[in-house]
Symmetry: C2
Subunit: 163 residues, 2 copies
Amino acid sequence: MNHDHSPAFLRHDHARCAGSVLAAADAVIAERGLRFTPVRRRVLEILAEEHRAMGAYDVLERLSAEGFGNQPPVAYRALEFLEAQGFAHRIRRLNAFTACMHPGESHAAAFLICGTCNAVAEAPAAEVAAALDRAAGNLGFTVERSTIEALGTCPACQTGGAA
Amino acid sequence: MNHDHSPAFLRHDHARCAGSVLAAADAVIAERGLRFTPVRRRVLEILAEEHRAMGAYDVLERLSAEGFGNQPPVAYRALEFLEAQGFAHRIRRLNAFTACMHPGESHAAAFLICGTCNAVAEAPAAEVAAALDRAAGNLGFTVERSTIEALGTCPACQTGGAA
DNA sequence: CTATGTATGTTATACTATAACATGTCAAGG
DNA sequence: CCTTGACATGTTATAGTATAACATACATAG
């Protein structure tokens, strides 16, 4: 499970975006009176720095190398926490996790997975979620959380041909 | 992995809907010149009869009891075939599979998973898929296949209270 | 300081999925 | 007929993903 690929569809300043994600997380967590422990913070840093979908075991490897526990629950628990707080997303198609690039916002995200280069991008999906709510509502179903993922081809892999 | 629950949100005649699914599959497969072998057909029958999300190992258990192979690839291969042909869907949130209830149709399906009774229903999702295409298109991404799943509460579990 | 709740570390195991190879089956062409 | 080639199934083995259960540590309120 190593989804290596270009970091996102568009080039950008990682240090900056990662930093802002961490800052936002700090703020939200303080506001909610939760504990942003070393493992949890470090996991979010790792996800944000790498800026790609990482398997729990990829994350665990990093943690382990840095002196944290080296057993699966260490990674899974931190990832669960981050997901519950909206700082990370789980990408089910890949059995992987990724830092949320705009935490605190409305929060309906769709994930676009390039089948060629494996890049994963988070797309704003308010309208998609709204359509899903309607489709569900027609059957009397109330949506709590949704998973919206697309497999396809990213701009770079379309124009440049195969990567 | 046993997703037991009421078969769908609405009562209906299983034998009939399962039968029609099989009939449709027969037709489509003949048309495409493919082979609807005993395992493949039986797996679709099982999914259609049970009319619920089943793990690959649940299906395998049934196959095995009926004299087919008893190793995972037997089930996974049949399930892959059915999914590729649009006769079954994979529900990633549940690591499970379900028969497609209207094969041959346009085919954008959303899956509604009741967190209370574990029922799974397939909702028409043409509009959801269209919205996803647009959201992806805005980033220059071309969608090939999409996964749309919602976790929430089904009508029965809303009105009746907790199951 | 101690009791309580929560987080982490660890052991063990369950569950999900696929690679690789052997065997069997079927249909088309010789 | 029978052989060849393509495809399907059976089987062995193993890889990859995830969680239950318990032990230990750590922070904070009282």
